[in-house]
């Protein structure tokens, strides 16, 4: 699946006309990055699935109104990352009153060769806000200006979070490698 901009427009057009294969192509193309972005912010595979799923359902709800001249990814990622930040904050608040309920939520075991544990573990030590900007910059490859727009932040804040987050991440990765 090449996934060029032209392909994406064609998938959206097809989906707006009711084509399930076109919707599936759009979904399969965008799912990996949406899920990974959510996962790297929340560090919980079940929550990541819920967050990414909600973003796609929102897309389906608004499909008829979607402007095909605009790229689909940034719109989807904005929802994913903002929800992931909300989820992480909410979990942090719940911890204050006990988060034993989280233990009931089954997370699939990690398979060998899957996502880099080191990177994920190092990211997990950062705040959700720092994780989000780093994930948007390095996984989703947005510019700081685009990140600022998506998260509703001043550009300077994005830059400072990126700088601090990356410094912290680098030091943790170095510790892990030693």
């Amino acid at each position: 699946m090449a996934g060029s901009r032209g392909d994406e427009r064609a998938w959206i057009r097809g989906a707006q006309s009711g084509s399930v294969p076109d919707l599936e192509a759009l979904f399969r193309h965008h799912w990996p990055r949406a899920y990974r972005a959510a996962y790297l912010v929340v560090h919980d595979s079940a929550a990541a699935e819920d967050i990414a799923q909600e973003a796609f359902l929102a897309a389906v709800r608004r499909l008829d109104r979607f402007d095909r001249s605009r790229p689909f990814g940034p719109w989807l990622h904005r929802i994913v990352v903002n929800r992931a930040i909300d989820w992480s904050r909410s979990r942090a608040l719940r911890r204050e009153t006990g988060d034993a309920w989280l233990g009931h939520i089954a997370a699939p075991p990690r398979a060998a060769g899957d996502h880099a544990d080191t990177l994920a573990a190092a990211l997990a030590d950062l705040s959700p806000e720092h994780r989000a900007v780093i994930v948007m910059r390095h996984l989703l490859e947005y510019t700081p200006g685009e990140i600022a727009e998506a998260l509703g932040l001043p550009r300077g804040t994005v830059n400072s979070r990126l700088r601090r987050g990356l410094d912290e991440l680098a030091s943790r990765l170095e510790e892990d490698l030693q």
Binding site: A15, Q16, S17, G18, V20, L23, E24, F27, R28, W31, P32, Y35, R36, Y39, L40, S45, A46, A47, A48, E49, D50, A52, Q53, E54, F56, L57, A58, V60, R61, R62, L63, D64, R65, F66, D67, R68, S69, R70, D86, S90, R94, T97, G98, A100, W101, H104, I105, A106, A107, P108, P109, R110, A111, D114, H115, A116, L119, A120, H138, L139
Partner: protein, 369 residues
């Protein structure tokens, strides 16, 4: 940083599960085919209008309402449809009205609505109690053994309940209490379900049989094998019966199997109002999925919601437009208008109905505006 693009844990399985949900939502929203496709023009016009609107205060409000297609609330402040919800919780029963007000009726258990929601029948140790939702008791009936599971017949003239291992029936005004069958419930839980429009009661006995009994004539209509029965549920018209046991299935009123449901279909379940379609929960790989099964042989499946962990109950709103999912493991109630239209997530259910974050409360019905 060379591994940003490696798959994350669970990514591929989650994609398949989510695609089912997304496809289902999409199929639900497919518009009626048009003779001429005006969509490009409409989309451009809409895009222009949306962009223009986005820069105006009213436009911000519109965008806000779009974002609210999925709404999260930290507390249960109202119900999205008319009617009241009954919740069996630790130490008592809660009645939640549409405006969000909640009344706790202390000391009751196993409550159920009367057909029009005017009364509740509830157990209080060895007593069967009929009371109003405001707590005013109309009558009590004391038995020598623990009372449980009261269920009203369709017009409210009969209440079936258990007393120890006995299955008993009493008139809706508290008179005429009589034994229906002795010790037939055995050691397991007795499931009861009045067939709508009749005084026929479906229940399981100690011989692993499902029995449909005409209570007034004391005549067995039919018996069928049923081991490990967990739930019995009639459709509104009394022509379909869900039998949730080791091999979940749908029977017709004569006790014939209409459809076998997937073995991983477990409780909870709820027939769609005024329909033979049914919402069921499937559990696989630590996730629960609510699907609506429909069609003559229940071979059409539409996924409406999926989440991690277990769901504790399902209930349709009285107008049949909303499905409430008690997402126990996430301590949430999820109100689903339709997968493609609207959803409301209400958190902190454990704190709302129980005395802490642990979530024990169980749905006992959404009744009657």
């Amino acid at each position: 940083m060379t591994r940003w693009h490696d798959p994350a844990p669970g990514e591929r399985d989650a994609a398949d599960r989510t695609w089912e949900v997304v496809r289902s939502a999409f199929e639900e929203r497919i518009p009626v085919p048009r003779k001429r496709d005006w969509r490009p023009v409409v989309v451009v016009a809409f895009g222009v209008a949306l962009l223009a609107a986005a820069f105006s205060p009213p436009g911000n409000a519109v965008l806000g309402s779009l974002r609210d297609a999925v709404r999260g609330e930290d507390h249960l402040v109202s119900l999205p449809a008319p009617g009241s919800i009954l919740v069996n919780a630790q130490g008592g029963v809660w009645v939640v009205k549409q405006n969000g007000s909640k009344r706790f009726l202390s000391g009751y258990d196993g409550a159920s609505w009367s057909p029009h929601g005017l009364y509740l029948a509830a157990a209080r140790e060895n007593e069967l109690v009929a009371l109003e939702p405001n707590g005013k008791v109309h009558w009590k009936l004391a038995r020598s053994r623990q009372v449980g599971g009261p269920q009203w017949s369709y017009e409210g003239y009969r209440i079936a309940y258990t007393a120890g291992r006995d299955l008993r029936v009493v008139n809706g005004d508290g008179t005429g209490d009589r034994l229906v069958t002795n010790n037939e419930g055995g050691s397991g839980l007795v499931s009861l379900a009045w067939r709508p429009g009749t005084h026929e009661l479906a229940y399981n006995n100690a011989h692993n049989q499902l029995v449909l009994l005409d209570v007034d004539r004391r005549r067995v209509v039919w018996r069928r094998p049923a081991a490990g029965l967990e739930q019995l549920l009639w459709s509104d018209d009394g022509r379909r019966l869900l039998v949730a046991d080791g091999r979940p299935r749908i029977l017709d009123a004569a006790g014939r199997t209409i459809a076998a449901l997937p073995r991983r279909s477990i409780l909870p379940a709820a027939f769609v109002r005024r329909s033979h379609s049914i919402a069921l929960v499937n559990v696989a790989d630590g996730r629960s999925t609510v699907s609506i099964y429909s069609g003559r042989s229940y071979d059409r499946r539409r996924v409406v919601f999926s989440g991690a962990g277990l769901f504790g109950g399902l209930a349709w709103s009285p107008d049949g437009r909303w499905l409430l999912v008690d997402w126990r493991d996430a301590d949430q109630w999820v109100f689903i208008r339709s997968a493609a239209v609207r959803r409301i997530d209400v958190r902190n259910i454990g704190n709302t109905f129980d005395s802490g974050p642990e979530h024990y409360a169980t749905l006992a019905g959404w009744c009657c505006p």
